[in-house]
């Protein structure tokens, strides 16, 4: 069974009577443990695709299955639970809660899963240690570098032990050194834990870390190559 299975996904935005076809029929399968990069110029529909794959949004048409479950039949609450259990997100701009410690930030997904506090914090601590931030537990986002903040975000994506990690331009706000550190962590997560990673980027050097490159242009898949 595939981790993610998209068949002919279409997403059309309507804004003030103008409609934008962000995705025009994307068919794509991501297997468990895979490491894929979605490549394409800005505005090609990469983020839209990632939001659909992550069940943050619903397609205008087409079918999406997550872990074999057809998403269209799920309520918003069921979708929220599906996200919580099977998908981890990493965003370009980190999206950490300000004035909240790294530990609490990382523990947040477990709050919505109803995990007791002590267990939550223990798992958050372990996740932070696995990204090399065992010494930054009580730091707030404003007290950390961009690279550290993104690693906190990765720890947060990991803490719920998802099957798929979706990363939208995770290195976009980082310098080269921090960027490659983040890529090193994502690679080792994929290799050691077997988490499927779907990485969105417009930089070929970053995409080169993945074994599979999916090229998107104007809302369509242009090429899908494995190295």
């Amino acid at each position: 069974m595939s981790a993610l299975e998209a068949v002919d996904l279409v997403r059309t935005y309507r804004l003030d009577g103008v409609s934008v076809d962000a995705l025009r029929g994307v068919t794509l399968t991501v297997e468990p443990g895979e490491f894929a990069a979605i490549l394409g110029p800005s505005g090609s529909g990469k983020s839209t695709l990632m939001h659909l794959l992550g069940c943050l949004d619903r397609p205008t048409s087409g079918v999406l299955r997550v872990g074999g479950v057809e998403v269209a039949g799920l309520s918003d609450a069921e979708l929220a639970e599906l996200r919580n259990r099977t998908i981890g997100f990493v965003f370009q701009s980190f999206h950490l809660l300000a004035r909240t410690s790294a530990l609490e930030n990382v523990a947040l997904p477990l709050v919505y899963r109803g995990v007791p506090r002590a267990e939550r914090l223990a798992r958050a601590r372990a996740a932070l240690e696995s990204v090399g931030l065992g010494h930054r537990l009580d730091h707030r986002p404003s007290q950390m570098s961009g690279g550290e903040q993104q690693r906190v975000a990765i720890a947060r994506a990991l803490v719920g032990e998802p099957e798929v990690l979706l990363a939208d331009e995770p290195t976009g706000n980082l310098d080269t050194r921090n960027g490659s550190e983040v890529m090193r962590i994502l690679t080792s997560l994929n290799e050691e834990r077997g988490v499927a990673v779907v990485l969105v980027t417009h930089e070929p050097e970053i995409a080169a870390h993945a074994r599979r490159q999916i090229h998107v242009r104007d809302g369509l898949i242009e090429a899908d190559t494995r190295s």
Binding site: S47, N84, F89, H95, L97, T100, G114, R156
Partner: protein
């Protein structure tokens, strides 16, 4: 997500935004504070007046000529000493009927002088009113019958004119006539704004001659028990109206006086509390406003929470609890400040205050309700936010 978690998240969000939280609470704090203080001042005033009226004595009926008007000073009516004697026969016990004729006069002792309310009354006064003596004696029947120039001084008059000297047996001059002091009343305080310690009592017959007034201001009757008060009141009025056909007479009992004044004060307190309640509502509108701003500002946070698995309900609950926490914490602070303020007013100003538990309970419940009522709209908006839109917001 469990309730406790939602509660902790909301509390944390308030802590993180504590500046804004404090300012938002301010409206609620001021509203609750005003409600508590105004109600306690109103209740204090009512308690004081009730205590004063009860302090007069028990089961008292006051009879005057004409239509009764609580607000106006007693007018010199048609009542005479003969009417008082007649009322004594109606009551069946003349010793429970006393009279009053008042005039403001200057009382002198040597160089010292003091303005006092000179009251012409009789020997039955202590049978009707609680008027304990500090020294000397009350008026006697002979004092009244023979128009003696004797006087009993209120505590304050005695103190001002004689200081530490014992006034008994000494002379005072009232409206140019010399009187001998035979008694001094104990301190009783004010009733109804009437400073009873500034009174001087003289025989009513002496007063009528001195002031040149043949009439009385009023007759007071002491009923033998609480059950007798109202029937006796009706009997006295109809007997007087039969005696003087075509002329109205009125009688008011202590209970009626208490009731009327209590109602008036309750109404005033109610109006003031309602105004303060409006302040509380305005505070609620402020909460609603700031919660909406807060939802907008925290759009990204909401999107993130949803991406991480928060359901619409979880976000709604969080924001609703935030609103209710804001107003109840504000309410508790307001109550504490209101109680403190009331105690301070009671201790450091002449205004009496009395803190009532119901006003505190009401203020608390209303502030919680304000939180629910004004928190629902912003919380729903937060819950409905589309996670993608929220995450893209920068």
């Amino acid at each position: 997500m469990r309730r406790r978690e939602a509660f902790l998240i909301a509390l944390e969000a308030l802590r993180v935004n504590r500046m804004r939280s404090g300012l938002t609470m301010l409206g609620v704090i001021i509203g609750v504070l005003s409600v508590v203080i105004l109600v306690s001042v109103g209740t204090g005033a009512k308690d004081t007046i009730e205590r004063e009226i009860s302090g007069l004595g028990s089961n008292i009926i006051l009879v005057v000529a004409g239509r009764l008007n609580v607000a106006a000073a007693p007018t010199q009516g048609r009542l005479t000493l003969e009417d008082a004697a007649y009322v004594g026969r109606v009551v069946g016990d003349p010793s429970r009927v006393t009279v009053s004729l008042q005039s403001g006069e200057t009382v002198r002792v040597g160089q010292a002088e003091q303005f006092a309310t000179v009251v012409g009354t009789d020997h039955n006064l202590p049978n009707v009113f609680d008027r304990p003596l500090d020294k000397g004696r009350h008026l006697s029947e002979t004092d009244v019958d023979t128009r003696r120039r004797v006087a009993i001084l209120g505590a304050e008059v005695a103190d001002r004119l004689f200081g530490d000297v014992d006034p008994i047996g000494r002379q005072v001059s009232i409206a140019g006539a010399r009187f001998r002091v035979v008694g001094v009343y104990a301190t009783v305080g004010a009733t109804f704004g009437v400073a009873r310690d500034q009174e001087v009592h003289v025989p009513v017959t002496t007063a009528q001659r001195l002031f040149g007034l043949p009439r009385l201001n009023g007759i007071a009757v002491g009923a033998s028990g609480p059950d007798e008060v109202e029937p006796l009141q009706r009997r006295i009025v109809s007997a007087l109206e039969q005696r003087h056909p075509g002329e109205p007479f009125s009688a008011v009992t202590q209970t009626q006086l208490l009731g009327t004044i209590g109602t008036v004060i309750d109404m005033l307190t109610g109006v003031l509390a309602a105004i303060a309640g409006i302040a509380l509502l305005v505070g609620g509108v402020g909460v609603s406003n700031i919660m909406l701003v807060s939802v907008r500002e925290r759009t990204r946070e909401i999107g993130l929470r949803k991406a991480l698995g928060a359901r619409q309900r979880d976000v709604l609950t969080q924001f609703l609890i935030e609103a209710v926490l804001l107003t109840t914490i504000g309410g508790i602070i307001g109550i504490l400040l209101g109680v403190g303020g009331s105690l301070a007013i009671g201790a450091f100003t002449p205004v009496p205050t009395s803190i009532t538990w119901w006003s505190i309970a009401l203020a608390f419940c209303v502030s919680a309700a304000v939180g629910v009522f004004f928190g629902v709209a912003p919380a729903r908006r937060a819950g409905r936010l589309d996670p993608v839109v929220a995450l893209r917001a920068e």
